[in-house]
């Protein structure tokens, strides 16, 4: 029976009795059901599109930041060694300020002097009587876990002194842990495995509420990525570390790719957090945290059968090697081992991560013993960064820029090689909070619900016990007590996704217009859908369903052709300085998150201020990596204008915030959604 028969029902008046004929009722029901299913499916498709947008941009950003960080750290490496050469009064080609040596020393983990800054100094920090936050008692007990959870629920801040003490203690205990913790379940002892939390404290509270606080009878494994993106990274770390200190044999922490101080530098939330934990101590907290990260175990092995690691594996994953290496030498994914033999070995400079190869002559005082070998380093990168895929084989993870994609054959091979049955990993956001693939051999668990946006995904955790199959528990943190209808949730994540996509488009305006002009010789302002989709994908480097998204991004004429300039009409980047040229502004806007990283690296005291000279040399560093030619005069001009109080220093946060995208329609959208 076709619902389209109903089109001949017409709109003539029928009597009530006529309408109650069973046949008509049946047809009417079919019409409504058919319509509703179509509508519901299109909602779900829009939800999927929004998630795809978020994910593509996130991975593209991660990859972009890997590139720039690698460049800046290798340039700084050059500076470090060159500065050492200056000190040793040898012939050098380039002169650097001594200041750079401090920056590098700060970056390269604790110097020997810092190592002597031990807990004695921390205990000298006084906690004033006026402090209303939680007070921890060392040695810690379960009451401290409770105390912290309750305090954080009331949004209290833990005093920096306690933060530091916890970090020092955690480092001490972690140092004694092996690279892989071996644990066993028993019929009466279950283990709960949680995935990425990413600073989302509400999710951690929800897990504890549903599943209980950690204890000797309630074991947990937290599989990395505790920090970044969410607002409560420090709170999560404190709860996890305190729980670990109280129950070191029952709370297991695995390192994720975000437990990496250079990754942390990227996120604005972290800057703000450090300021709230007292500026003076922020630097120290960062330093110790860097160390703690490096001492986090690589993974957990349960019942000698199940491997729990953050990212994944590669075909060359060697668990025996990974058991043996000195894991704390892996400081950051962005600081690969440096060749120390005069730089002749060009092959070893090419890593899986895309990077500009920097040839340099090196003689230095740092020894081989402080580094991993290249092979060891890559083994860890694979563990922290890889993703499973359906395609067989093992090939570079191009969307993240690090680690690899591994297929079901690789999973079988590696699991068999080490007599394991299953791999539990995290690292990827899944709409249902978990996902099973590779014939049940690989499970992804992700514990940050609403990761991209309210309503974007559920969180989940896994409970394992020796007799039964793994059980999955899902949840979603919602701001309102009753769940909003699907169409409202989809509208919310869709408009969020479209907004960030449009910001990305405006940041590439010049390149996009050039690409369109190449296709539109007659300068009609129009291109075909095909041409438009092709240019968007190419210039932005995002693999998205452009045709389906086009209605949100551009206007189309009656022939189906795209008015490509319509993308740029409701949005413009508001400039603080009218005379500055548009390319400079656009470039600054496009790379603003990258600039933030570089800025953070150079602003060694986290004061938010850099001197004029630092601003110029920072710009040079940036120029060199991206091969952009922006006039020195333009840079100077801008620098001078930004220095509003003319004291020779620039508040870079203000500088960055000055470049924001203005959506003309944004106010309209806001008032509509408040009616819904």
């Amino acid at each position: 029976m076709s619902t389209h028969d109903l089109e001949d029902m017409g709109c003539g008046t029928s009597s009530a009795t006529q309408d109650r004929q069973p046949e008509k009722v049946l047809k009417a029901a079919l019409v409504i059901q058919n319509w509703y299913r179509g509508y519901s499916a299109r909602l779900k498709a829009r939800q999927r599109y929004a998630l795809t947008i978020f994910q593509s941009i996130e991975y593209a950003d991660e990859q972009g930041q890997l590139q720039v960080c690698f460049a800046s750290s290798s340039l700084l490496l050059v500076k470090c060694f060159s500065s050492l050469l200056i000190i040793e009064k040898m012939n050098v080609r380039v002169r650097f300020k001594l200041r750079n040596l401090e920056i590098v020393a700060r970056l390269f983990g604790s110097t020997s002097q810092d190592n002597r800054d031990r807990q004695e100094c921390v205990t000298l920090i006084e906690v004033p009587n006026s402090y209303n936050g939680p007070r921890l008692q060392f040695p810690l007990t379960f009451t401290d876990i409770d105390l912290l959870v309750e305090a954080f629920k009331q949004q209290q801040i833990l005093h920096a002194r306690y933060v530091l003490e916890v970090l020092f203690e955690t480092k001490k205990v972690l140092k004694q842990m092996p690279n892989f913790t071996h644990i066993n379940t028993s019929p009466s002892k279950e283990i709960t495995i949680c995935g990425d939390l990413h600073g989302k404290l509400d999710d951690l509270f929800l897990i504890f509420y549903k599943n209980g606080l950690p204890s000797e009878s309630n074991s947990y494994v937290f599989n990395g990525d505790f920090v970044d993106r969410g607002r409560n990274s420090i709170e999560i770390l404190m709860i996890l570390f305190v729980s670990f200190l109280v129950y070191p044999n029952d709370l297991h922490l695995n390192r994720g790719n975000h437990e990496d101080f250079m990754m942390n530098l990227r996120y604005e939330e972290n800057q703000e957090v450090l300021f709230s934990y007292l500026q003076i101590h922020g630097k120290k907290i960062l330093q110790i945290l860097e160390d703690v990260y490096t001492w986090l175990p690589i993974g957990t092995i349960i019942d000698n059968e199940i491997l729990v690691i953050h990212g994944g594996i590669s075909e060359s994953t060697d668990l025996n090697l990974l058991h043996r290496i000195e894991r704390h030498k892996m400081k950051s994914v962005l600081m690969p081992p440096v060749p120390l033999d005069g730089g002749h070995d060009t092959k070893s400079k090419k890593h899986k991560i895309n990077a500009t190869v920097m040839p340099w002559e090196v003689t230095s005082s740092s020894s081989l013993s402080e580094q991993l070998t290249k092979h060891e380093w890559e083994q860890i990168i694979d563990i922290l960064w890889s993703d499973p895929r359906g395609k067989r084989g093992c090939y570079p993870n191009t969307s993240r820029g690090g680690g690899c994609y591994f297929g079901p054959d690789i999973t079988s091979k590696v699991l068999n090689r080490f007599q394991l049955k299953m791999l539990i990993r995290s690292h990827e956001c899944k709409p249902e909070g978990y996902e099973i693939c590779h014939d049940g051999k690989v499970v992804t668990v992700f514990s940050a619900s609403n990761y991209y946006e309210e309503g974007s995904n559920r969180g989940a955790y896994i409970k394992l016990s020796s007799d039964t199959n793994p059980r999955f528990y899902q949840y979603q943190v919602t701001r309102t007590t009753c769940l909003r209808p699907l169409y409202q949730r989809v509208n919310a994540i869709e408009s969020s996704a479209i907004r960030i996509l449009r910001e990305r488009i405006i940041s590439r305006k010049t390149d996009l217009i050039n690409a369109f002009h190449l296709q539109d010789r007659t300068k009609s302002g129009k291109v075909s859908m095909s041409q438009w989709a092709f240019s968007m994908e190419n210039i932005l480097g995002l693999n998205l369903p452009w045709r389906s998204l086009s209605s949100h991004l551009v206007t189309t004429d009656t022939n189906g052709n795209i008015n490509y300039m319509s993308s740029f009409q409701d949005i413009h980047i508001q400039k603080p300085v009218k005379e500055a040229q548009s390319t400079l502004i656009e470039t600054l806007y496009r790379y603003r998150s990258d600039l933030q990283i570089i800025f953070n690296v150079i602003d060694s005291d986290h004061s938010g201020l850099i001197s004029m000279e630092e601003f110029r040399s920072m710009w040079k560093l940036f120029n060199r990596h991206y091969n952009i030619h922006i006039d020195d005069v333009q840079v100077d001009d801008l620098a001078e204008r930004m220095d509003l109080n003319k004291d020779g220093s620039i508040d870079f946060n203000e500088f960055l915030k000055a470049f924001y995208v203005v959506h003309k329609l944004d106010k309209l959208n806001k008032s509509e959604s408040s009616l819904a």
Binding site: M1, S2, T3, H4, L6, E7, M9, G10, C11, A16, T17, D19, R20, K24, V25, L26, K27, A28, A29, L30, V31, I32, Q33, N34, W35, Y36, R37, G38, Y39, S40, A41, R42, K44, A45, R48, Y49, T52, R389, G390, K391, E435, C437, L483, P485, L486, Y487, Q488, N491, M529, S530, A533, N543, P545, W546, R547, S548
Partner: protein, 153 residues
Amino acid sequence: EILVPEFHKKIKEAFEVFDHEANNTVDVREIGTIVRSLGCCPSEGELHDLIAEVEEEEPTGYIRFEKFLPVMTEVLLERRYRPIPEDVLLRAFEVLDPFKRGFLSKEELIKYMTEEGEPFSQEEMEEMLSAAIDPESNSIHYKDYITMMVIDE
């Protein structure tokens, strides 16, 4: 003609969004969503037939793009499974509301949707109710409901 390559790209885009493993297959349970996201409105019966056409001889639970593409292209070319016009939809609600009150009670809606035609699953019913029901009167004012849904699209 000229339409076919564009349809191919459109279908490929829609398919890829649901191809989580990037191996040119999708779970058969997502086919309905994909077909509908391309603007078509098949009934459950029509969808069932379409799936039979694109499935492997020995169903694997996955549909391959190579099989899906030609079938879906035909669907688009023939303009099959056209969506329901708004006035037809309104008329359908009116059939179920013979005394022309302007609304259906929650119980009536549930009864019709879960007992007649191609019945809703419990999940589908709950989902529809969450958006359609006016909590104060526990009824659905279908004219307003339709207008709201149509604007949203």
